[in-house]
Amino acid sequence: MNTSAPIENLISKEKIAIAFENVSISYGGNEAIKNLYLNFPKGKVTALIGPSGCGKSTVLRAINRMNDLIPDCKIKGRIFYEGSDLYDPNIDPVEVRRRIGMVFQQPNPFPKSIYENIAFGARINGYSGNMDKLVEKSLKKAAVWDECKDKLNKSGCSLSGGQQQRLCIARTIAIRPDIILMDEPCSALDPISTLKIEETIHELKNNYTIIIVTHNMQQAYRISDYTAFFNAENVDDGEGGKVGYLAEFNETETIFGSPKQKITKDYISGKFG
Protein backbone atom coordinates (compact mmCIF):
# COMPACT_ATOMS: atom_id res chain seq x y z
CA MET A 1 0.00 0.00 0.00
CA ASN A 2 2.96 2.28 -0.29
CA THR A 3 2.82 5.03 -2.85
CA SER A 4 6.27 6.51 -2.66
CA ALA A 5 7.40 4.69 -5.82
CA PRO A 6 5.90 5.75 -9.15
CA ILE A 7 3.32 3.34 -10.38
CA GLU A 8 4.60 1.51 -13.39
CA ASN A 9 3.27 3.09 -16.51
CA LEU A 10 1.45 0.66 -18.71
CA ILE A 11 0.32 3.00 -21.41
CA SER A 12 3.52 3.69 -23.25
CA LYS A 13 1.70 2.96 -26.49
CA GLU A 14 -0.47 6.08 -26.06
CA LYS A 15 0.36 9.73 -26.56
CA ILE A 16 0.24 11.64 -23.31
CA ALA A 17 -2.12 14.56 -22.75
CA ILE A 18 -1.41 15.37 -19.10
CA ALA A 19 1.41 14.06 -16.97
CA PHE A 20 1.51 14.27 -13.19
CA GLU A 21 5.01 14.06 -11.81
CA ASN A 22 5.20 13.48 -8.07
CA VAL A 23 2.32 15.83 -7.30
CA SER A 24 1.10 16.46 -3.76
CA ILE A 25 -1.78 18.80 -3.04
CA SER A 26 -2.81 20.14 0.34
CA TYR A 27 -5.51 22.38 1.76
CA GLY A 28 -4.16 24.64 4.48
CA GLY A 29 -1.68 22.04 5.73
CA ASN A 30 -3.89 18.96 5.31
CA GLU A 31 -2.63 16.81 2.48
CA ALA A 32 -5.39 15.63 0.17
CA ILE A 33 -3.31 13.71 -2.38
CA LYS A 34 0.31 12.71 -2.21
CA ASN A 35 3.13 11.66 -4.54
CA LEU A 36 0.97 11.21 -7.58
CA TYR A 37 2.58 10.00 -10.81
CA LEU A 38 0.03 9.58 -13.56
CA ASN A 39 -0.07 9.97 -17.36
CA PHE A 40 -3.43 10.65 -18.95
CA PRO A 41 -3.56 9.30 -22.51
CA LYS A 42 -4.45 11.68 -25.29
CA GLY A 43 -7.69 11.27 -27.20
CA LYS A 44 -9.06 8.74 -24.73
CA VAL A 45 -11.56 8.71 -21.92
CA THR A 46 -9.98 8.19 -18.51
CA ALA A 47 -12.18 7.52 -15.50
CA LEU A 48 -11.14 8.39 -11.96
CA ILE A 49 -12.81 6.19 -9.37
CA GLY A 50 -12.41 5.71 -5.64
CA PRO A 51 -14.14 6.30 -2.30
CA SER A 52 -15.20 9.86 -1.55
CA GLY A 53 -12.62 12.13 0.00
CA CYS A 54 -9.71 10.36 -1.69
CA GLY A 55 -8.84 13.42 -3.74
CA LYS A 56 -10.36 12.74 -7.18
CA SER A 57 -11.85 16.20 -7.51
CA THR A 58 -8.65 17.69 -6.20
CA VAL A 59 -6.64 15.97 -8.92
CA LEU A 60 -9.12 17.00 -11.59
CA ARG A 61 -9.21 20.62 -10.49
CA ALA A 62 -5.44 20.78 -10.44
CA ILE A 63 -5.38 20.11 -14.18
CA ASN A 64 -7.07 23.36 -15.20
CA ARG A 65 -5.84 25.36 -12.23
CA MET A 66 -9.31 25.61 -10.73
CA ASN A 67 -7.68 25.13 -7.33
CA ASP A 68 -6.31 28.65 -7.70
CA LEU A 69 -9.75 29.82 -6.56
CA ILE A 70 -9.27 28.15 -3.18
CA PRO A 71 -7.02 30.48 -1.19
CA ASP A 72 -5.15 27.95 0.95
CA CYS A 73 -4.70 25.20 -1.64
CA LYS A 74 -1.01 24.41 -2.21
CA ILE A 75 0.44 22.19 -4.89
CA LYS A 76 3.86 20.54 -5.01
CA GLY A 77 5.41 18.67 -7.90
CA ARG A 78 4.80 19.23 -11.61
CA ILE A 79 1.92 18.75 -14.00
CA PHE A 80 2.83 18.76 -17.70
CA TYR A 81 0.58 19.70 -20.55
CA GLU A 82 2.10 19.81 -24.03
CA GLY A 83 5.57 20.17 -22.65
CA SER A 84 4.73 22.99 -20.25
CA ASP A 85 4.64 22.77 -16.49
CA LEU A 86 1.16 24.14 -15.74
CA TYR A 87 2.31 25.61 -12.45
CA ASP A 88 5.28 27.46 -13.84
CA PRO A 89 5.00 31.11 -12.72
CA ASN A 90 5.04 32.25 -16.34
CA ILE A 91 1.92 30.31 -17.21
CA ASP A 92 -1.33 32.22 -17.65
CA PRO A 93 -4.10 30.22 -15.92
CA VAL A 94 -6.67 31.85 -18.21
CA GLU A 95 -4.95 30.29 -21.23
CA VAL A 96 -4.85 26.94 -19.46
CA ARG A 97 -8.58 27.01 -18.77
CA ARG A 98 -9.34 27.95 -22.35
CA ARG A 99 -7.65 24.73 -23.48
CA ILE A 100 -8.81 22.54 -20.63
CA GLY A 101 -12.56 22.94 -20.06
CA MET A 102 -14.48 21.65 -17.08
CA VAL A 103 -17.96 20.34 -16.31
CA PHE A 104 -18.84 20.41 -12.63
CA GLN A 105 -20.70 18.09 -10.32
CA GLN A 106 -23.62 20.45 -9.82
CA PRO A 107 -24.93 21.92 -13.07
CA ASN A 108 -23.99 25.59 -12.89
CA PRO A 109 -25.40 27.46 -15.86
CA PHE A 110 -25.03 31.22 -15.84
CA PRO A 111 -28.19 33.08 -14.84
CA LYS A 112 -28.45 34.25 -18.43
CA SER A 113 -30.36 33.04 -21.48
CA ILE A 114 -29.53 29.64 -22.94
CA TYR A 115 -28.10 31.38 -25.98
CA GLU A 116 -25.92 33.66 -23.84
CA ASN A 117 -24.69 30.73 -21.77
CA ILE A 118 -22.94 29.49 -24.88
CA ALA A 119 -22.17 32.79 -26.54
CA PHE A 120 -20.58 34.34 -23.45
CA GLY A 121 -17.77 31.82 -23.25
CA ALA A 122 -17.21 31.85 -26.99
CA ARG A 123 -17.09 35.62 -27.04
CA ILE A 124 -14.57 36.00 -24.24
CA ASN A 125 -12.48 33.39 -26.01
CA GLY A 126 -12.40 35.67 -29.02
CA TYR A 127 -14.75 33.69 -31.26
CA SER A 128 -15.55 35.74 -34.35
CA GLY A 129 -17.53 33.32 -36.50
CA ASN A 130 -21.26 32.95 -36.79
CA MET A 131 -22.54 32.85 -33.23
CA ASP A 132 -25.97 31.38 -34.07
CA LYS A 133 -24.30 28.47 -35.84
CA LEU A 134 -21.91 27.88 -32.96
CA VAL A 135 -24.74 27.86 -30.43
CA GLU A 136 -26.70 25.38 -32.53
CA LYS A 137 -23.68 23.16 -33.17
CA SER A 138 -22.63 23.08 -29.53
CA LEU A 139 -26.12 22.34 -28.28
CA LYS A 140 -26.48 19.58 -30.86
CA LYS A 141 -23.17 18.02 -29.86
CA ALA A 142 -24.26 18.07 -26.25
CA ALA A 143 -27.54 16.41 -27.28
CA VAL A 144 -29.73 19.12 -25.85
CA TRP A 145 -30.61 21.07 -29.00
CA ASP A 146 -34.07 19.57 -29.45
CA GLU A 147 -35.10 20.56 -25.95
CA CYS A 148 -33.68 24.07 -26.22
CA LYS A 149 -34.18 25.21 -29.77
CA ASP A 150 -37.54 26.87 -29.10
CA LYS A 151 -36.47 28.72 -26.00
CA LEU A 152 -33.00 30.00 -26.60
CA ASN A 153 -33.93 33.28 -24.94
CA LYS A 154 -35.19 31.64 -21.76
CA SER A 155 -32.91 31.56 -18.74
CA GLY A 156 -30.52 28.64 -18.56
CA CYS A 157 -31.71 28.08 -15.01
CA SER A 158 -35.24 27.29 -16.23
CA LEU A 159 -34.11 23.95 -17.69
CA SER A 160 -34.28 20.66 -15.81
CA GLY A 161 -31.18 19.40 -14.00
CA GLY A 162 -30.14 17.02 -16.78
CA GLN A 163 -30.71 19.63 -19.46
CA GLN A 164 -28.74 22.17 -17.43
CA GLN A 165 -25.82 19.77 -17.22
CA ARG A 166 -25.90 19.17 -20.96
CA LEU A 167 -26.06 22.95 -21.44
CA CYS A 168 -22.91 23.17 -19.33
CA ILE A 169 -21.28 20.55 -21.54
CA ALA A 170 -22.34 22.52 -24.61
CA ARG A 171 -20.88 25.65 -23.06
CA THR A 172 -17.59 23.85 -22.57
CA ILE A 173 -17.55 22.41 -26.08
CA ALA A 174 -18.24 25.84 -27.52
CA ILE A 175 -14.85 27.13 -26.43
CA ARG A 176 -13.22 24.19 -28.31
CA PRO A 177 -10.91 22.92 -25.57
CA ASP A 178 -8.35 20.12 -26.05
CA ILE A 179 -9.32 18.39 -22.89
CA ILE A 180 -12.64 18.19 -21.07
CA LEU A 181 -12.66 17.51 -17.34
CA MET A 182 -15.88 16.20 -15.81
CA ASP A 183 -16.40 15.95 -12.06
CA GLU A 184 -19.20 13.45 -11.40
CA PRO A 185 -21.33 15.10 -14.07
CA CYS A 186 -24.23 12.73 -13.54
CA SER A 187 -24.33 12.46 -9.77
CA ALA A 188 -27.13 15.00 -9.44
CA LEU A 189 -29.15 13.57 -12.30
CA ASP A 190 -31.86 10.98 -12.90
CA PRO A 191 -31.06 7.76 -14.84
CA ILE A 192 -32.49 8.99 -18.13
CA SER A 193 -30.48 12.20 -18.10
CA THR A 194 -27.46 10.15 -17.11
CA LEU A 195 -27.86 7.93 -20.16
CA LYS A 196 -28.17 10.97 -22.40
CA ILE A 197 -24.99 12.44 -20.99
CA GLU A 198 -23.18 9.18 -21.47
CA GLU A 199 -24.27 9.23 -25.10
CA THR A 200 -22.92 12.74 -25.33
CA ILE A 201 -19.58 11.58 -23.94
CA HIS A 202 -19.48 8.81 -26.54
CA GLU A 203 -19.98 11.46 -29.20
CA LEU A 204 -17.22 13.63 -27.82
CA LYS A 205 -14.77 10.80 -27.46
CA ASN A 206 -13.59 11.09 -31.03
CA ASN A 207 -12.42 14.66 -30.78
CA TYR A 208 -11.40 15.25 -27.20
CA THR A 209 -9.35 13.92 -24.35
CA ILE A 210 -11.83 13.37 -21.55
CA ILE A 211 -11.07 12.85 -17.89
CA ILE A 212 -14.11 11.99 -15.84
CA VAL A 213 -14.63 11.40 -12.13
CA THR A 214 -17.48 9.02 -11.41
CA HIS A 215 -18.93 7.13 -8.51
CA ASN A 216 -20.77 4.79 -10.78
CA MET A 217 -18.76 1.66 -11.61
CA GLN A 218 -20.95 0.68 -14.56
CA GLN A 219 -20.59 4.12 -15.95
CA ALA A 220 -16.80 4.00 -15.68
CA TYR A 221 -16.85 0.62 -17.36
CA ARG A 222 -19.22 1.76 -20.13
CA ILE A 223 -17.55 4.98 -21.15
CA SER A 224 -13.86 4.88 -20.31
CA ASP A 225 -10.78 3.46 -22.03
CA TYR A 226 -8.58 3.79 -18.97
CA THR A 227 -9.37 3.81 -15.28
CA ALA A 228 -7.43 5.18 -12.33
CA PHE A 229 -8.42 3.89 -8.92
CA PHE A 230 -7.65 6.22 -6.02
CA ASN A 231 -7.80 5.26 -2.40
CA ALA A 232 -7.23 7.01 0.90
CA GLU A 233 -5.07 5.90 3.78
CA ASN A 234 -4.80 7.16 7.34
CA VAL A 235 -2.04 9.53 8.26
CA ASP A 236 -0.55 9.51 11.74
CA ASP A 237 -1.32 13.09 12.61
CA GLY A 238 -3.34 12.13 15.63
CA GLU A 239 -6.46 13.71 14.13
CA GLY A 240 -7.62 10.79 12.03
CA GLY A 241 -6.78 12.63 8.81
CA LYS A 242 -6.65 10.79 5.50
CA VAL A 243 -4.56 11.28 2.44
CA GLY A 244 -5.39 10.06 -1.05
CA TYR A 245 -3.07 8.13 -3.36
CA LEU A 246 -3.25 6.37 -6.69
CA ALA A 247 -3.74 2.66 -6.03
CA GLU A 248 -3.96 1.32 -9.55
CA PHE A 249 -4.07 2.59 -13.10
CA ASN A 250 -4.67 0.56 -16.20
CA GLU A 251 -6.89 -0.08 -19.17
CA THR A 252 -10.45 -0.21 -18.02
CA GLU A 253 -10.81 -3.82 -19.17
CA THR A 254 -7.93 -4.83 -16.93
CA ILE A 255 -9.06 -2.83 -13.91
CA PHE A 256 -12.51 -4.33 -14.02
CA GLY A 257 -11.48 -7.74 -15.31
CA SER A 258 -8.30 -8.64 -13.48
CA PRO A 259 -7.10 -5.92 -11.15
CA LYS A 260 -3.58 -6.34 -9.79
CA GLN A 261 -4.39 -5.03 -6.33
CA LYS A 262 -6.74 -6.73 -3.96
CA ILE A 263 -8.04 -3.40 -2.75
CA THR A 264 -9.10 -2.45 -6.27
CA LYS A 265 -11.01 -5.67 -6.59
CA ASP A 266 -12.69 -5.09 -3.23
CA TYR A 267 -13.70 -1.59 -4.21
CA ILE A 268 -15.07 -2.57 -7.60
CA SER A 269 -17.04 -5.43 -6.17
CA GLY A 270 -18.57 -3.01 -3.67
CA LYS A 271 -16.87 -4.27 -0.50
CA PHE A 272 -16.19 -0.72 0.62
CA GLY A 273 -16.44 2.91 -0.53
Partner: protein, 316 residues
Amino acid sequence: MSNDQSGQYELRRRTDSERFLDRAFRDLSITMASVVAVLLIGIFLFVFSGAFESIGRYGLKYLVTSEWNPVSDQYGAFNAIYGTIITSLTSICVAVPLGIGTAIVITEDILPKKIRETIGLMVELLAAIPSVVLGLWAIFVMEPFLRPIFIAVNHYFGWFPFFSTKPIGPGIMPATLILVIMILPIITSISRDSLNQVPLPLREAAYGIGATRWSAILHIILPAAISGIAGGILLALGRAMGETMAVTMIIGNSLNFNWSLFAPGNTISAMLANQFGEADGSQVSSLMYAAFVLMILTLSVNIAAQYIVKRLSLKY
Protein backbone atom coordinates in the same frame (compact mmCIF):
# COMPACT_ATOMS: atom_id res chain seq x y z
CA MET B 1 -29.32 9.33 44.66
CA SER B 2 -32.00 7.15 46.06
CA ASN B 3 -33.29 4.26 44.02
CA ASP B 4 -36.83 5.03 45.00
CA GLN B 5 -38.32 6.31 41.77
CA SER B 6 -41.72 7.34 42.98
CA GLY B 7 -42.08 10.58 44.80
CA GLN B 8 -39.08 12.18 43.16
CA TYR B 9 -40.96 13.98 40.48
CA GLU B 10 -43.38 16.00 42.46
CA LEU B 11 -43.48 18.65 39.78
CA ARG B 12 -45.03 16.55 37.03
CA ARG B 13 -47.73 19.16 36.98
CA ARG B 14 -46.29 22.59 36.57
CA THR B 15 -47.16 24.88 39.40
CA ASP B 16 -49.35 27.89 38.81
CA SER B 17 -46.48 30.27 39.47
CA GLU B 18 -44.32 28.55 36.87
CA ARG B 19 -47.06 28.74 34.31
CA PHE B 20 -47.62 32.38 35.17
CA LEU B 21 -43.92 33.13 34.68
CA ASP B 22 -43.95 31.44 31.30
CA ARG B 23 -46.93 33.43 30.11
CA ALA B 24 -45.70 36.70 31.64
CA PHE B 25 -42.37 36.33 29.86
CA ARG B 26 -44.04 35.82 26.53
CA ASP B 27 -46.36 38.79 27.06
CA LEU B 28 -43.42 40.91 28.13
CA SER B 29 -41.49 40.10 24.97
CA ILE B 30 -44.55 40.89 22.84
CA THR B 31 -44.87 44.20 24.66
CA MET B 32 -41.22 45.00 24.00
CA ALA B 33 -41.65 44.21 20.33
CA SER B 34 -44.74 46.41 20.22
CA VAL B 35 -42.62 49.36 21.35
CA VAL B 36 -41.15 49.41 17.84
CA ALA B 37 -44.59 49.69 16.31
CA VAL B 38 -45.70 52.32 18.80
CA LEU B 39 -42.54 54.37 18.25
CA LEU B 40 -42.76 54.20 14.50
CA ILE B 41 -46.42 55.13 14.37
CA GLY B 42 -45.90 57.70 17.14
CA ILE B 43 -43.08 59.45 15.28
CA PHE B 44 -45.04 59.45 12.06
CA LEU B 45 -48.22 60.81 13.65
CA PHE B 46 -46.27 63.35 15.67
CA VAL B 47 -44.47 64.75 12.65
CA PHE B 48 -47.60 64.71 10.54
CA SER B 49 -49.79 66.39 13.15
CA GLY B 50 -47.10 68.97 13.82
CA ALA B 51 -46.89 69.72 10.14
CA PHE B 52 -50.66 69.68 9.62
CA GLU B 53 -51.20 73.39 10.08
CA SER B 54 -48.44 74.30 7.61
CA ILE B 55 -49.51 71.71 5.09
CA GLY B 56 -52.96 73.29 5.14
CA ARG B 57 -51.65 76.82 4.95
CA TYR B 58 -48.89 76.52 2.32
CA GLY B 59 -49.85 73.35 0.54
CA LEU B 60 -47.60 72.20 -2.26
CA LYS B 61 -46.36 75.73 -2.80
CA TYR B 62 -44.14 75.09 0.22
CA LEU B 63 -42.20 72.56 -1.78
CA VAL B 64 -41.36 74.87 -4.68
CA THR B 65 -40.76 78.28 -3.13
CA SER B 66 -37.61 79.34 -1.37
CA GLU B 67 -38.70 82.17 0.84
CA TRP B 68 -38.08 81.46 4.54
CA ASN B 69 -39.18 84.43 6.53
CA PRO B 70 -40.31 84.05 10.15
CA VAL B 71 -41.10 87.77 10.35
CA SER B 72 -43.64 87.81 7.55
CA ASP B 73 -44.67 84.21 8.21
CA GLN B 74 -43.77 83.12 4.70
CA TYR B 75 -42.29 79.68 4.40
CA GLY B 76 -41.08 77.62 1.47
CA ALA B 77 -38.54 74.86 1.75
CA PHE B 78 -37.48 74.41 -1.86
CA ASN B 79 -33.95 75.46 -1.02
CA ALA B 80 -33.56 72.83 1.71
CA ILE B 81 -35.34 70.10 -0.27
CA TYR B 82 -33.18 70.83 -3.30
CA GLY B 83 -30.09 70.79 -1.07
CA THR B 84 -31.10 67.46 0.45
CA ILE B 85 -31.63 65.88 -2.95
CA ILE B 86 -28.64 67.36 -4.75
CA THR B 87 -26.16 66.55 -1.97
CA SER B 88 -27.41 63.00 -1.50
CA LEU B 89 -27.69 62.14 -5.20
CA THR B 90 -24.30 63.64 -6.06
CA SER B 91 -22.63 61.90 -3.17
CA ILE B 92 -24.20 58.59 -4.25
CA CYS B 93 -22.88 59.06 -7.78
CA VAL B 94 -19.36 59.55 -6.43
CA ALA B 95 -19.54 56.89 -3.73
CA VAL B 96 -21.04 54.03 -5.76
CA PRO B 97 -18.07 53.37 -8.07
CA LEU B 98 -15.61 53.93 -5.21
CA GLY B 99 -17.49 51.65 -2.83
CA ILE B 100 -18.13 48.84 -5.33
CA GLY B 101 -14.53 49.02 -6.52
CA THR B 102 -13.33 48.66 -2.95
CA ALA B 103 -15.73 45.79 -2.29
CA ILE B 104 -14.33 44.00 -5.34
CA VAL B 105 -10.78 44.49 -4.09
CA ILE B 106 -11.81 43.08 -0.71
CA THR B 107 -13.61 40.02 -2.06
CA GLU B 108 -11.69 39.05 -5.20
CA ASP B 109 -8.06 38.01 -5.04
CA ILE B 110 -6.43 41.06 -6.59
CA LEU B 111 -4.33 41.75 -3.48
CA PRO B 112 -2.89 39.40 -0.83
CA LYS B 113 -5.32 38.27 1.83
CA LYS B 114 -3.69 40.16 4.71
CA ILE B 115 -3.96 43.47 2.89
CA ARG B 116 -7.56 42.77 1.96
CA GLU B 117 -8.48 42.02 5.55
CA THR B 118 -6.83 45.24 6.71
CA ILE B 119 -8.74 47.24 4.12
CA GLY B 120 -11.97 45.62 5.27
CA LEU B 121 -11.25 46.55 8.87
CA MET B 122 -10.39 50.12 7.90
CA VAL B 123 -13.65 50.54 6.03
CA GLU B 124 -15.56 49.38 9.09
CA LEU B 125 -13.64 51.75 11.33
CA LEU B 126 -14.43 54.59 8.95
CA ALA B 127 -18.08 53.89 9.71
CA ALA B 128 -17.33 54.29 13.41
CA ILE B 129 -16.13 57.89 13.14
CA PRO B 130 -18.94 60.13 14.40
CA SER B 131 -20.31 62.62 11.93
CA VAL B 132 -19.60 65.58 14.20
CA VAL B 133 -15.88 64.73 14.10
CA LEU B 134 -16.02 64.50 10.32
CA GLY B 135 -17.70 67.91 10.36
CA LEU B 136 -14.92 69.36 12.48
CA TRP B 137 -12.34 67.86 10.12
CA ALA B 138 -14.22 69.20 7.12
CA ILE B 139 -14.24 72.73 8.51
CA PHE B 140 -10.60 72.94 9.54
CA VAL B 141 -8.80 70.52 7.22
CA MET B 142 -10.68 69.34 4.17
CA GLU B 143 -12.36 72.50 2.99
CA PRO B 144 -9.32 74.79 3.36
CA PHE B 145 -7.23 72.19 1.56
CA LEU B 146 -9.65 71.82 -1.34
CA ARG B 147 -10.56 75.48 -1.69
CA PRO B 148 -7.77 76.31 -4.17
CA ILE B 149 -9.02 73.46 -6.36
CA PHE B 150 -12.59 74.74 -6.14
CA ILE B 151 -11.37 78.24 -6.99
CA ALA B 152 -9.57 76.91 -10.04
CA VAL B 153 -12.67 75.00 -11.17
CA ASN B 154 -14.72 78.16 -10.73
CA HIS B 155 -12.12 80.13 -12.64
CA TYR B 156 -12.14 77.88 -15.70
CA PHE B 157 -15.68 76.49 -15.63
CA GLY B 158 -17.52 79.40 -14.03
CA TRP B 159 -19.82 79.62 -17.08
CA PHE B 160 -21.40 76.35 -15.96
CA PRO B 161 -24.22 77.11 -13.48
CA PHE B 162 -23.08 74.47 -10.99
CA PHE B 163 -19.69 76.15 -10.65
CA SER B 164 -20.79 79.73 -11.06
CA THR B 165 -19.95 81.28 -7.68
CA LYS B 166 -16.63 81.90 -6.05
CA PRO B 167 -15.92 79.36 -3.29
CA ILE B 168 -15.86 81.19 0.03
CA GLY B 169 -15.73 78.35 2.52
CA PRO B 170 -18.75 76.33 3.55
CA GLY B 171 -20.93 75.18 0.68
CA ILE B 172 -22.80 72.39 -1.05
CA MET B 173 -19.67 70.92 -2.61
CA PRO B 174 -17.71 70.27 0.62
CA ALA B 175 -20.93 68.99 2.23
CA THR B 176 -21.34 66.53 -0.63
CA LEU B 177 -17.78 65.31 -0.27
CA ILE B 178 -18.19 64.73 3.44
CA LEU B 179 -21.38 62.80 2.68
CA VAL B 180 -19.38 60.65 0.27
CA ILE B 181 -17.04 59.74 3.12
CA MET B 182 -19.99 58.97 5.38
CA ILE B 183 -21.82 56.64 2.98
CA LEU B 184 -18.78 54.86 1.56
CA PRO B 185 -18.62 52.33 4.43
CA ILE B 186 -22.31 51.40 3.93
CA ILE B 187 -21.99 50.86 0.19
CA THR B 188 -18.68 49.06 0.55
CA SER B 189 -19.68 46.68 3.30
CA ILE B 190 -23.07 45.79 1.81
CA SER B 191 -21.49 45.25 -1.63
CA ARG B 192 -18.77 43.14 -0.03
CA ASP B 193 -21.37 40.96 1.72
CA SER B 194 -23.37 40.56 -1.50
CA LEU B 195 -20.26 39.63 -3.49
CA ASN B 196 -19.25 37.13 -0.82
CA GLN B 197 -22.63 35.48 -1.14
CA VAL B 198 -22.25 34.76 -4.84
CA PRO B 199 -22.09 30.96 -4.85
CA LEU B 200 -18.72 29.38 -5.60
CA PRO B 201 -20.11 27.18 -8.43
CA LEU B 202 -21.06 30.30 -10.36
CA ARG B 203 -17.54 31.69 -10.02
CA GLU B 204 -16.16 28.32 -11.07
CA ALA B 205 -18.42 28.29 -14.10
CA ALA B 206 -17.03 31.63 -15.18
CA TYR B 207 -13.38 30.87 -14.57
CA GLY B 208 -13.84 27.34 -15.92
CA ILE B 209 -14.58 28.55 -19.45
CA GLY B 210 -11.50 30.72 -19.41
CA ALA B 211 -12.90 34.03 -18.24
CA THR B 212 -10.34 36.52 -17.02
CA ARG B 213 -10.81 37.90 -13.54
CA TRP B 214 -12.57 41.04 -14.70
CA SER B 215 -14.78 39.42 -17.28
CA ALA B 216 -15.91 37.05 -14.54
CA ILE B 217 -16.48 39.98 -12.18
CA LEU B 218 -18.24 42.26 -14.63
CA HIS B 219 -20.35 39.69 -16.49
CA ILE B 220 -21.11 37.05 -13.90
CA ILE B 221 -20.27 37.95 -10.30
CA LEU B 222 -21.51 41.55 -10.15
CA PRO B 223 -24.82 40.76 -11.92
CA ALA B 224 -25.40 37.93 -9.45
CA ALA B 225 -24.82 40.27 -6.52
CA ILE B 226 -26.79 43.15 -7.93
CA SER B 227 -29.84 42.88 -5.66
CA GLY B 228 -27.84 43.30 -2.48
CA ILE B 229 -25.72 46.04 -3.97
CA ALA B 230 -28.73 47.97 -5.22
CA GLY B 231 -30.37 47.64 -1.81
CA GLY B 232 -27.20 48.91 -0.18
CA ILE B 233 -27.06 51.90 -2.50
CA LEU B 234 -30.63 52.82 -1.58
CA LEU B 235 -29.89 52.46 2.14
CA ALA B 236 -26.89 54.73 1.65
CA LEU B 237 -29.10 57.22 -0.20
CA GLY B 238 -31.50 57.25 2.74
CA ARG B 239 -28.62 57.80 5.12
CA ALA B 240 -27.24 60.64 3.01
CA MET B 241 -30.63 62.37 2.95
CA GLY B 242 -31.02 62.21 6.71
CA GLU B 243 -27.43 62.91 7.69
CA THR B 244 -27.32 66.00 9.85
CA MET B 245 -24.26 67.06 11.78
CA ALA B 246 -21.39 66.98 9.33
CA VAL B 247 -23.57 68.58 6.68
CA THR B 248 -24.86 71.30 9.01
CA MET B 249 -21.32 72.20 9.95
CA ILE B 250 -20.00 72.58 6.43
CA ILE B 251 -22.91 73.46 4.13
CA GLY B 252 -23.22 77.10 5.20
CA ASN B 253 -26.92 77.02 6.15
CA SER B 254 -27.94 79.61 3.62
CA LEU B 255 -31.61 80.51 3.23
CA ASN B 256 -31.12 81.68 -0.35
CA PHE B 257 -31.28 79.39 -3.30
CA ASN B 258 -28.30 79.14 -5.62
CA TRP B 259 -27.51 76.71 -8.43
CA SER B 260 -23.81 76.79 -7.72
CA LEU B 261 -22.32 73.90 -5.78
CA PHE B 262 -19.73 76.29 -4.40
CA ALA B 263 -22.35 78.51 -2.80
CA PRO B 264 -23.59 77.93 0.74
CA GLY B 265 -26.76 75.87 0.78
CA ASN B 266 -29.03 74.03 3.15
CA THR B 267 -30.65 70.67 3.70
CA ILE B 268 -33.79 69.73 5.58
CA SER B 269 -31.91 68.13 8.43
CA ALA B 270 -29.46 71.04 8.68
CA MET B 271 -32.38 73.44 8.82
CA LEU B 272 -33.99 71.41 11.60
CA ALA B 273 -30.74 71.27 13.57
CA ASN B 274 -30.28 75.01 13.28
CA GLN B 275 -33.75 76.30 13.87
CA PHE B 276 -35.86 73.78 15.71
CA GLY B 277 -34.54 74.52 19.18
CA GLU B 278 -35.42 78.21 19.00
CA ALA B 279 -38.47 78.16 16.77
CA ASP B 280 -41.93 79.10 17.88
CA GLY B 281 -45.31 79.81 16.41
CA SER B 282 -45.90 78.91 12.81
CA GLN B 283 -42.19 78.38 12.29
CA VAL B 284 -42.41 75.17 14.32
CA SER B 285 -45.15 73.88 12.09
CA SER B 286 -43.23 74.87 8.99
CA LEU B 287 -40.16 73.04 10.24
CA MET B 288 -42.34 70.03 10.99
CA TYR B 289 -43.55 70.19 7.39
CA ALA B 290 -39.90 69.97 6.32
CA ALA B 291 -39.37 67.09 8.74
CA PHE B 292 -42.42 65.42 7.23
CA VAL B 293 -40.96 65.76 3.73
CA LEU B 294 -37.68 64.28 5.00
CA MET B 295 -39.56 61.38 6.59
CA ILE B 296 -41.40 60.65 3.35
CA LEU B 297 -38.17 60.80 1.36
CA THR B 298 -36.16 58.49 3.63
CA LEU B 299 -39.14 56.20 4.20
CA SER B 300 -39.74 55.65 0.51
CA VAL B 301 -36.06 55.08 -0.17
CA ASN B 302 -35.83 52.56 2.67
CA ILE B 303 -38.96 50.70 1.64
CA ALA B 304 -37.69 50.60 -1.93
CA ALA B 305 -34.41 49.17 -0.62
CA GLN B 306 -36.17 46.33 1.16
CA TYR B 307 -38.39 45.69 -1.85
CA ILE B 308 -35.45 45.55 -4.26
CA VAL B 309 -33.46 43.16 -2.12
CA LYS B 310 -36.46 40.82 -1.95
CA ARG B 311 -37.50 41.19 -5.55
CA LEU B 312 -34.14 40.94 -7.29
CA SER B 313 -32.79 38.18 -5.09
CA LEU B 314 -35.60 35.92 -6.31
CA LYS B 315 -34.06 36.02 -9.74
CA TYR B 316 -30.91 34.18 -8.79
